[in-house]
């Protein structure tokens, strides 16, 4: 039985850039252990900014970001011990092999892996065996994403942040990715994933949030989505001026 503790929390989180642009506007969100939270929204809606604030790549203008109860701004290194991150386009050290990359990042995450453990992780993310000892500069995007996911799994953290991880992947690779996400959820990881893929979000997510112009304009649980058409809701929001609470949205 997985506990329901909150592993990720945004409290009144805002980000205004130096040029005055408001990237994130007072959002609140929570993610519990064993949950997948999908953030949907158009480009520039604030999905990546939210993730960047949890990673301490940006400092919030107002509000706080918490990882396992740790304030990211106050104790970024401590918070990052509980986080793993997979970006939209995972970039690795091209001169290193997949194994060397995984070994290195696992060490940064505080884990020393044996060669067999490394291979086992790479098998788990369905990387071809012959690629284990190949330099990653020759890897396709899909292969790099797999190694990136293996790095995140190796860290064995409480939370995994995924920034559009399946964008540009072929359907088979995206499907494999989704299977692994479900396994990780079953292991009790909290997963926050930004995506454009509404169908996959609806299929895998326990919670879906729609962002528009820096605001979290709608939040729905899996159960609620059984009764509603997410695609329709999403398209409605994308076409409408930003207004929280309109059309039955609760955020």
């Amino acid at each position: 039985m997985i506990s329901q503790e909150i592993v990720l929390e945004a409290k009144d989180l805002s980000k205004r850039y130096e040029d005055g642009q408001l990237a994130l506007d007072h959002i609140h969100l929570t993610l519990r252990r064993g949950q997948i939270y999908s953030l949907l929204g158009a480009n520039g809606a604030g999905k990546t900014t939210t993730i960047n604030l949890f990673l301490d790549f940006l400092k919030p203008t107002t509000g706080q970001a918490f990882v396992c109860g740790i304030d990211v701004e106050k104790e970024p290194l401590e918070a990052k011990k509980h986080l793993a991150f997979v970006s939209e386009n995972v970039m690795l050290y091209g001169n290193f092999t997949a194994r060397q990359n995984l070994e290195f990042f696992a060490k940064l995450g505080g884990r020393s892996l044996t060669k067999e453990e490394v291979y086992s992780l790479l098998r788990r993310v369905s990387l071809q065996e012959k690629a284990f000892e190949q330099r990653v500069k020759s890897f396709s995007k899909g292969m790099r994403q797999k190694v990136g996911l293996a790095i995140a799994i190796a860290k064995d953290s409480d939370v995994i942040l995924l920034d559009e991880p399946t964008s540009g992947l072929d359907p088979k690779a995206a499907e494999e990715f989704q299977v692994i996400l479900k396994e990780l959820r079953a292991e009790g990881k909290g997963i926050l994933m930004s995506t454009h893929d509404i169908f996959r979000a609806q299929e895998v997510a326990d919670k879906v949030g729609i962002m528009k112009e820096g605001r979290l304009v709608l939040e729905r649980s899996r159960e609620e989505l059984y009764e509603e058409d997410l695609v329709k809701i999403y398209l409605d929001y994308m076409g409408s001026p930003c207004s929280m609470g309109e059309r039955g949205g609760r955020a």
């Binding site: 960047n52 990673l55 790549f57 290194l77 970039m91 050290y93 001169n95 290193f96 290195f104 940064l108």
Partner: protein, 425 residues
């Protein structure tokens, strides 16, 4: 946490083409430089053995400095032979290098190799350390781990520094061991201390340029921009600033030409000889004639010494102004520091000339006493003692060391500040 990061930097460098190029270049140039300079030293030593003064020869000459193999500086000038006679010091010859190519290009000693080649190699290692990670996207992945930016920067510094200096150190120490087979290179404890200090200066200099490279890589958004900026800075620091500031110093301080000085000395001599002939009185007796000539020689000696003193004063001022301006570039501090430690610097040359002048005055007094008082004149051979390390340190080396360390420290601190504010997105 820093150990895996340093290991990654080293491994990453070892697998790159730039390391292979820099590694081969460092090994080849260091070995070549030390080989060439050893042969040059050997030739100059052979010259010295040929012209070294015998018993009773009034010649000031000192053997070539073994450290000139590493930093030749003004050793050729220090090794000139000066013939002392009653009215002047005549420069007879120097331990000139047989290698005429040196006249066209800078001497390819180890100092030059480090000054030009290793500094460039350090920039090649440093220019993309931060911006390339950002460009290729690995910086986000790195910083998504529990790694502080300070640790990341420090690991880059340490990893790249080790990769840069290890090939250099290996070939340098190997060459030193080989030199130890030659008895002319057997060193006292102070000699080893000098060697250690020179090595420290070499490493500090490499650290300076690596820090500069990393600093620019944290300020520039793109690796290509960083490279262009650093190449410009390198040319400015290594060549432009030292040369331009030396020219500026020459405009600021007027020093009479050596040729003019020589002409003036000759004029004084001729004038006093003519006066002496005019005043010649055969009735004055031997003692009287000798006394008259001694008066004229004293005038020559006194005026020439005063001229020399004035020249040396002005030249010293020029050197002082030039060095102060040169030090706008820390490269100048490095060159002055290494030459000072090697005993081939400008202060050493100046001190050598002072010693020659003192020797000349001792010889002059001895000759005069012999002619006037009939004393038996015996002249001890000229012997030059190089400045001790303590004296070298007090007379400017401390400042050059401090200046180099200060620049390095400032570059490191500035890159840390810039990286803390760096937008990793």
């Amino acid at each position: 946490m820093i150990a895996p990061l340093v290991k990654k930097e080293i491994l990453s460098n070892l697998l790159s083409y730039k390391f292979i190029v820099v590694f081969l270049m460092t090994i080849l140039l260091t070995a070549l430089s030390m080989g060439i300079m050893y042969r040059d030293f050997d030739a100059r030593y052979a010259d010295y053995m040929l012209i070294r003064p015998g018993a009773g020869d009034l010649i000031a000459l000192t053997p070539p400095n073994p450290f000139s193999v590493l930093a030749r500086g003004l050793d050729e000038s220090i090794g000139r032979s000066y013939e002392i006679n009653i009215h002047d010091i005549v420069v007879r010859s120097g331990q000139k290098s047989n290698n005429l190519i040196f006249r066209f290009f800078p001497t390819p000693d180890l100092l030059y190799t480090v000054q030009v080649v290793l500094s460039l190699a350090a920039l090649l290692f440093g220019f993309d350390q931060v911006c390339r990670e950002r460009e290729q996207g690995t910086l986000k992945l790195l910083l998504s781990h529990s790694v502080s930016r300070g640790e990341l920067l420090l690991s880059k510094w340490v990893g790249n520094f080790l990769t840069l200096v290890l090939p250099f150190l290996t070939v340098f120490l190997l060459a030193l061991l080989l030199l130890q087979l030659d008895p002319r290179f057997s060193l006292s404890w102070e000699g080893w201390l000098r060697l250690g200090l020179m090595l420290f200066l070499f490493l500090l200099y490499v650290a300076l340029f690596l820090s500069l490279g990393i600093l620019v890589s944290t300020l520039a958004k793109r690796a290509a921009t960083s490279l262009v900026i650093l190449l410009f800075l390198w040319a400015a620091l290594v060549f432009l600033l030292p040369n331009l500031t030396t020219l500026a110093a020459r405009q600021m301080v007027e020093v009479p030409s050596v040729r003019g000085l020589s002409e003036k000395r000759q004029q004084i001599w001729t004038r006093e000889i003519l006066l002496g002939i005019r005043e010649f009185d055969p009735k004055a007796g031997q003692q009287g004639v000798a006394s008259s000539w001694r008066r004229h020689f004293d005038v020559v000696n006194h005026e020439q010494d005063a001229m020399e003193e004035e020249y040396r004063h002005r030249f010293g001022r020029l050197v002082s102004v030039a060095k102060s301006l040169n030090r706008l570039s820390p490269v100048a501090s490095f060159v002055y520091g290494v030459n000072a430690v090697a005993g081939t610097g400008i202060e050493e040359e100046s001190r050598y000339k002072e010693e020659v002048l003192r020797y000349k005055n001792r010889v002059y007094k001895g000759l005069m006493d012999k002619s006037m008082l009939g004393k038996e004149a015996s002249f001890s051979a000229f012997h030059y003692r190089y400045r001790s390390l303590g004296e070298t340190f007090r007379e400017g080396l401390w400042f050059d060391l401090f200046w180099l360390a200060l620049f390095t420290f400032l570059f490191v601190v500035a890159s840390a500040v810039a990286f803390l504010r760096y937008d990793v997105r």
